[in-house]
């Protein structure tokens, strides 16, 4: 992004809506800010139409605050609840047809490498569990097999939330939803393990109940994708609307699932990625 064009024409400063003025005055671009500084700068997610207590909304806020290079990041989204928030995101983002997100991201990353050979441009897929583990699984896994330099982030609300509550491959066995009245008959898909075996150099599972750890994982995933190979982060983001709990109980719900042993944060890193990340993280300590 060329920040020199990010200026309001002087005689129109008085009529620009506040959100744009705030973004120009206290943007996070190029400043190396992160989750700890939330509240001190203008966030990249404006007012959004997601439900109160939506786990996905909190995860998205944290992901955006964790991007190592927001001004040169392009996000590829897919149909689903998160697609409703993307119009309020002040970053380049592309909406792809449901399930196609990793194919679109692969092409985009390759084009950006050709167009900007001397610049780092991060391509990050952010999509739902239905888009990632069910309908788009073909495109997701093929992009991993091909070792594309992209990061895939799944917002796992364990349902097809946007279409009124069908079970997804990521719903736990036995889950009863509005449109899964008889209960799900098979267990949750082990996506982190599938990712590890399919060529991802960095894999993590986390939730917004641990914001600092989430930040670290998102950064590691994106940095790994730049140099080593594809990366995958799965973020458990419970849905109060479809799982019928109170909005204020979202984080408690994650902790309860953790306590019961149904949700575990994890990290798989290949030796090559480990060495690469250690080098970067070591360098950072020296600064």
């Amino acid at each position: 992004m060329n920040k020199s064009i990010f200026k309001i024409t002087p005689c129109f400063e008085d009529i620009m809506p506040d959100e744009y003025k705030e973004l120009v005055e206290s943007d996070p671009f190029g400043k190396g800010l992160g989750v700890s500084q939330l509240g001190t700068y203008k966030e990249l997610l404006e007012e959004h139409p997601l439900c109160a207590g939506c786990g996905l909304a909190l995860s998205l806020r944290l992901i955006l605050a964790s991007l190592p290079n927001p001004e040169d990041t392009v996000i590829v989204g897919s149909t689903g609840c998160s697609a409703l928030a993307f119009p309020q995101v002040a970053l380049h983002n592309i909406h792809s047809v449901f399930g196609n997100q990793n194919a679109v991201a692969s092409g985009l990353k390759r084009a950006l490498k050709l167009r900007f050979p001397d610049k780092v441009k991060d391509v990050v897929v952010i999509a739902g569990d239905g888009a990632t583990a069910d309908i788009g699984l073909d495109m997701v896994m093929q992009s991993w097999f091909r070792c594309e330099n992209i990061t895939t982030i799944m917002l796992d609300n364990e349902a097809y939330a946007n279409t009124g509550g069908q079970e997804s491959g990521m719903s736990p066995q036995g889950t009863v939803l509005n449109m899964a009245p008889k209960g799900k008959k098979f267990p949750k898909i082990s996506m982190p393990e599938i990712a590890r075996e399919s060529g991802c150099a960095y894999v993590a599972a986390i939730s917004p109940a641990q914001p600092k750890r989430l930040e670290k994982m998102v950064r590691r995933a994106i940095l790994t994708a730049r140099e080593v190979g594809p990366s995958y982060v799965q973020i458990f983001s419970p849905c109060p609307t479809n799982y019928k709990f109170k909005p204020q109980e979202m984080v408690a719900r994650i902790k309860q699932r953790e306590k019961e042993g149904f949700f575990k944060s994890k990290e798989y890193i290949t030796t090559e990625a480990q060495e690469y990340l250690a080098g970067l993280e070591e360098g950072k300590k020296d600064e």
Binding site: I5, F6, K7, I8, T9, P10, C11, F12, I15, M16, P17, Y20, E46, E47, H48, P49, P87, Q88
Partner: protein, 194 residues
């Protein structure tokens, strides 16, 4: 050349009005302009815009991103000329800072979005609007929605080839055309004031 019989008139024309181009309205050549679907001289169209602005009860200008963001040389100058026009004609200004399909989260009192421009027009009871600095593809979408669902008179001051879907459209608009329009408004105001 066959002239289209279709007139681009103030709405509401109904849900999904046709694109004027599909009804045979063609874009003007250099030095010409469009008034309600017919090709006229640029001077005639400028005079008509000035009349319409002054007749309107609640006229607004809608500057788009090409004018709101100071992204290249010459923009600030053009913006100043637009502001002068607004001050003289007594119109208010509501910006269209970008084209994100913000929905349903816009504040129609302070912004207009090309994907549902009708919200801003209804909320502010706008009966005349002038688009300037809006990229052509989004101007086309917004102008059609306005004609379909509101009774607002639309003007498009275009830096490129003009817009069939506006009731009046100039093409190749630069500082010279803006100055002529401001001058026409001043002159008509003077006449009206006598």
């Amino acid at each position: 050349m066959l002239e289209s019989k279709y007139q681009v008139l103030v709405g509401p024309e109904g849900y999904l009005p046709p694109a004027a181009a599909s009804m045979g309205v063609t874009l003007p050549e250099k030095g010409q302009a469009l008034v309600e679907g017919s090709i006229v001289s640029e001077e005639e169209a400028i005079e008509k815009i000035a009349q319409k602005i002054l007749e309107a009860k609640n006229p607004f200008l809608f500057p788009g991103p090409l004018l709101l963001w100071d992204w290249k040389e010459g923009v600030a100058e053009k913006a100043k000329a637009v502001k002068e026009l607004a001050d003289l004609a007594g119109t208010r200004i509501i910006p269209m800072p970008d084209y994100r399909p913000k929905y349903p989260m816009i504040n129609p009192a302070v912004e207009i979005n090309p994907n549902h421009p009708n919200l801003t027009i209804w909320h502010n009871k706008i009966d005349f609007c002038l688009f300037i600095g809006v990229h052509c593809h989004y101007a086309n979408v917004a102008l059609k929605i306005i004609r379909g669902g509101t009774d607002c008179y639309t003007i498009a001051l275009c830096g490129e080839a003009g817009h069939e879907d506006a009731m009046i459209s100039l093409r190749d608009v630069g500082l010279a055309q803006l100055a002529s329009l401001t001058e026409a408004v001043a002159r008509l105001k003077g006449v009206a004031g006598k």
